[in-house]
Amino acid sequence: MKESKSGFYIFRKIFSRSRLAGIFSFLFFCFLGYFLLWQRFQIMNERELQEMSNIINLVENNVEQSLQNSYSVALSLALLIDNEGNIENFEEVAPHMVDGNPNIDVVQLVPGGIITKVYPLEGNREVINYNILQEESLKREANKAIETRKIYFAGPFELKQGGMAVIGRLPVFIRNEFWGFSAVIIKLENLFRQSGLKKLAGGKYQFQFSKIDVLTGDEVFFLPEIKNLNKSYSKSVILPDGDWKFYIASKNSNEILFLMLPVAFIILILAAWLGWIISKELEQPVKLQELLMKKTGELVQSELKFRTIFDQAAIGIARLDSISGNILETNTKYRELLGYTAEELTRFDYMQLTHPEDIQEDYNNMQRINSGEITEFAINKRIIKKNGDIGWVKLTVSTLRENGLGPEEHVALIEDITEKRLSELNLNKSYQMVMDQNKRLLNFSFIVSHNLRSHSSNIQAILNLYELAECEVEKESYVQLLSKVGVALDQTLFDLNEVVTIQANTDLVVKPLLVSDYLKITLDLLQVQIQKKKAIIRQEIPEEMLVKFNPAYMESVLLNFLSNALRYSDHQRTPEILISGTCEEGSWVLEISDNGIGIDLDRHGKQLFGMYKSFTDSPQSRGIGLFITKNQMDAMGGRISVESMVNVGTTFKLHFK
């Protein structure tokens, strides 16, 4: 799997588009370069051929010119022959012809094939009386001139008198009778000089000069320079007057090719370089794309990872707009917690989902985060769910994205702590309850020890005295004293028992009670005292005043407060007691107001409901009534508040649960 993959990868790498493009562009540039080079080569070749042709033409012209001159000389010479065949004034005329004409070197008159007259004689004496028509090597060319009746240039050949030369023989006919030749000799070097070959060719070209052998018909070359005449690099001209052929050829026929070789090499290099560049250039985007793909892949992976974390997170996550507080995005848990759909949530800002009492704190923190004072905060707050339920969450807000001016987006994490919070509240409640209980128990144990100890210490003291008693009468008095302690102790134990009963009874019957009914019963019980005190009782209890309470406690509480009101009445005025019921914030409040002696709350407020705390001299005041009442109210989940003024009156308010 991996191998094939890597193999494919290598294949792809080698034959990737960029590489193919590089190869093709290399080939293209090669082709283009070589095509242009080839064109150039053709042009250069043509130009060279053209040049060669021009040179040859010039050479031809020059040679023709020279031959023409020679012909003229030969003709002029022939005119020295009179009709009888006699040669006249050769010695006078010939020097003029030869010396004034650089084209020719020697002139001859050859009557009947025998060289009779030569100028200049010097250096040519050997040829006098030489019969050319008898000489095999010369006879054919000489005859050709006779046959054609035209001047014919023979040679070049080795002159008898030495040196290579060509001879133009003009056949002379007198009355249609061949007389002989008028001949002009041009030395070969002179002919070449006249043709301008050397001058024209310079060092660049080489020449060949050939003649078709009259005898054999073969082409005979006279110059050594050109060994192999390649026709494609030569230009020849045929001079019919002598059956001569001039060749011109480039000295170095491969010169152009050699000139082009470095260029060809450069083109190759250049094309390769261009191909490489193109391949690289094309590779760049491919590489970039590969990188992009890789990075994109990584990004997608990372995005996927975070998306999964975001969606699967066990806590609610939301993105918020920092300024508006609008919810931009939420995860599953967040929606689960609030009960809204993702779409619904985007229409909310965080404040709309927050419990009114917690908005301020949340808002303040958001302001602080927006001002840059803090970067994150965590609070516990209540949220309002779609179904109206209130849940507790731990909210952590931190900056997610910032621009130059400040935070742009925030991430809010909410953790459901409702249960935790509820159990916390329950725990607090339980703790408070236990603490209250503990306080009461402590108080109670203190009361018990204190009150029982007062009796026990009395007993101890009496017994000590008893032991020290000296007579029966005294002893008798101690026993009587002891019995008084017994009674008091009994009373104390009874009181304590009552308190214990209240505090220990946690599962008392609690039912809705009509306060007015119980008030009626209580007032009936107190009928005697009311009449005795001539007290005025006013009742303002609503008929519907229904409180959840234990019936016995209700009787006890009402009896206690009303009897207190009667007991601590001011003797100087008619007792007036107002009993009213009001509803405050959904809870009933029973108010018992009197115009009695009042209580100095500054001095006794703290001890008002304490056991055995009394604030009068009255022997009836044992400091137990309010203590028990308070305990009963506590047991029923209610509370008592008091307002009082000495000599004005007291108002007790019973707040029912």
Partner: protein, 127 residues
Amino acid sequence: MNKEICVIDDDYIYQLIIEKIIRRAAIFVKSTAYRNAGHAFQRFKDPEFPLPHLILLDINMPLMDGWEFIAKLSSCRPNLRNETKIYIVSSSIATADKLKAASFKEISGFLSKPVSVQKLKEIGGKI
């Protein structure tokens, strides 16, 4: 020496007992008793009134408790400390009460009930 003693306590039975103990101790020529600290204060607040040599004072009493009595009396009679010896006599065995008693320079001691004849003789002897 004519030693006088005063008992301020709201416990009626204790009053009866302490009266017998005082008589048994036989070192005091005069004994007074108050069941209401307020009444005692009314009598003692006049600086001209000679205070008894020894006062046995209860703490827990209705209307005016022992602490209040000392505070009020002390404000009326700045020299209270030298005029009389005040002993707290209480059935309380609470440490808090003992500590509080120690914080009053006017209080000479703290006695837990019951007070024995012996103890009374001992205290009375110091005067």
